[in-house]
Symmetry: C2
Subunit: 458 residues, 2 copies
Amino acid sequence: MEIRKVLLTEDEMPRQWYNILADIKMNPPLGPDGKPVGPEMLTPIFPMNLIEQEVSSQRWIDIPEEVLGVYTIWRPSPLVRARSLEKALKTPARIYFKNESVSPPGSHKPNTAVPQAYYNKVFGTRKITTETGAGQWGSALSFACSQFGIECKVFMVRVSFDQKPYRKSMMEAWGGKCVASPSTETKAGRDVLEKYPDTPGSLGIAISEAVEAAVSDTTGKTKYSLGSVLNHVMLHQTIIGLEAKKQMEKIGEYPDIIIGCAGGGSNFAGLAFPFVLDKMNGKKIDIYPVEPSACPTMTRAPFVYDHGDNAGYTPLLAMHSLGHAFVPPPIHTGGLRYHGMAPTVSQLVSEGILEPRSVTQLAAFEAGIKVTRSEGLIPAPESNHAVACVIEEALKAKEEGKEKVILFNMSGHGLIDLGSYDKYLSGSLQNYELSDEELLEAEKIFENYPKPQLIKSR
Amino acid sequence: MEIRKVLLTEDEMPRQWYNILADIKMNPPLGPDGKPVGPEMLTPIFPMNLIEQEVSSQRWIDIPEEVLGVYTIWRPSPLVRARSLEKALKTPARIYFKNESVSPPGSHKPNTAVPQAYYNKVFGTRKITTETGAGQWGSALSFACSQFGIECKVFMVRVSFDQKPYRKSMMEAWGGKCVASPSTETKAGRDVLEKYPDTPGSLGIAISEAVEAAVSDTTGKTKYSLGSVLNHVMLHQTIIGLEAKKQMEKIGEYPDIIIGCAGGGSNFAGLAFPFVLDKMNGKKIDIYPVEPSACPTMTRAPFVYDHGDNAGYTPLLAMHSLGHAFVPPPIHTGGLRYHGMAPTVSQLVSEGILEPRSVTQLAAFEAGIKVTRSEGLIPAPESNHAVACVIEEALKAKEEGKEKVILFNMSGHGLIDLGSYDKYLSGSLQNYELSDEELLEAEKIFENYPKPQLIKSR
């Protein structure tokens, strides 16, 4: 019998997260005056202990015992050798994936939701607000808040809210509250609804709503939480890559290629960042973040200063962006419908260390069905973008007769997204390609914005 | 950090199933003439290799390499110490569960679906038909068939088909076909629809349809598959209890109490049977199968000879039964809406080795929410019946100040059942209690049936 899963015991779980800010140089976030913002500007939104982590340049950050205790509900996650997919593709490549779908909400998101809830608890926060796209993040935060006895309020992008009613039920099973965004509960939501009553919503709009709901609680006991993009999120997610590294070492393997889907960037960064340092030190690895071609931030949009949200409540961040006013087409991949990309990921793209790829909606689902019928697991539509790229690389390895080692992140399962699979299988899904005119139009927003510098970290 | 999960490596996975027929005596199945049926009577329905297993009295049966290979997709499953639930209940009891929700379809069902698909493949079967209640079994068989390249057709009880549209999508993602039962595709289905056009359906009716669809393929290449009740199913499921035993040994524990929900009996038997022999040999263990009070086969119905299906296509089996014409109320626990109970489980109940319990729908969901908000995992509504009994026993241990060790089976997760949680949380679920009159009425069907003997195995 061939071994399929490489396991770690709870004792072998990494005790520290990796902070890439120790190893790369970045353009600073800017305030409304165009000057770098200090940590104090973020205090109405985030608790101070998380802000400190956000700006820390310490390479290794201890994971609190209480967080490790909750992590053990599903961690360490298995590293799986995708033997059945390899056989189906007849490839000489060895394909491995980190199975992050084993968490209670079904994705990698609780890796950061749990520490965020914990640090908020320590800080004295009573309620956390957030946005969610496909619902993975909202349900992860709802789960995490239930572990620490904190209230949770989620603004869910309308198109996903309508496509996936079970996500709301899931959040409520853990005691959270969930409304469709744009909602009438915030000024940001009402303003959008007035102009575009039929809008499918966007992550940018939902972020504005959640931020507004947090800062408008004058007691200071309500904070906001973000499920991607920011540095403290990326660093919490590095537990994925740190575990994967240990697991690959156990079987004497090291990846030639690393692949993850990328919307805000967190699951991708979580797997890839612990390997990025090796690459900067001369190791030959190809690292591909994969985005939907309908929302092509890294592959087609410029590296600019832009707001993280639709209403412009957040500081300006140096990132690849389609513009904060951009509303992505209603693809069935809510987690990847974001106008920007994590500044750390964007910086590494600008340096050529990461090589972004894009995949269409139909190609992603086609790849997902291949995995479903070989590996058994039904991937999240987001993860299918990674899978499509994996299959492409595995077939290339076959053509070239090379025994490549491919490592990718199975960021979540698709059990709450089965309606989308239904549409794909019945032939009623379509692709959305952005025209160059649409992109140029979207980019006009940056005309009077400051421009980030091109920086080389090494 | 306290250890939460006890893991086994793939190498430590049991290599044999346990067959309880080696250790208990049973009333034989009877044919239409009232005489015991030989294996040959089952050949139109099942492949011979599975029939041989069904009637085998060999204690240990080797698990084929090909089955072990597919098992590794999710097995061995974790044994979890429910520390957070213990803390929430402030109980001195130590609560453990076998987490069978980690399989791709989300339940214990593939433990038997995979070997059934495998033996059918070896036998030359091209297509398998089956019934499903909540959809756990149908999706498990669809998954298993996709692993061995066999067609799969599922008749899904209408009430669940309507409640859980994602189950159909799931089966189709693996390449299976699924229709609501009663359907117009079979005589059994059409007969019921003519009399009761608005019937919610039942497992008994769906079994009739699936059996008819199999035997009416005159090439003999279509076989039927049952997801519970029969002995070969129970024995495939014993991998759960065999793993659990190894895992408890590793940490020096042994259960005082074993609990599983029971509809047809398979997840319960899978966990409990490897411990039953210990009990027959004098070990003191309390073993509780838990059924819904709306479908009380073991706790209120007689031990009789009855058909396994609604139309009377199957042999007569000695079991606890509400009568094959009984249509259980539309509770949100499709997997437990079955009129009978596995003959092996029924036999052990009749001997007093198992002590059945029942739980109402509302009590089950209340318990499920307690687990969701402590352990994080959202249990299947079926599993909630076990959880309700676990909580009762844990609170009793607290009252008595006893450090009881409780082991239960988390037979599946509830991610496809979130609509039911929604209804529970919004207060729109109700209980169904059967009156004594309804029971007496249902039992009339047995008046002219042969009666099973009361047998003591030891």
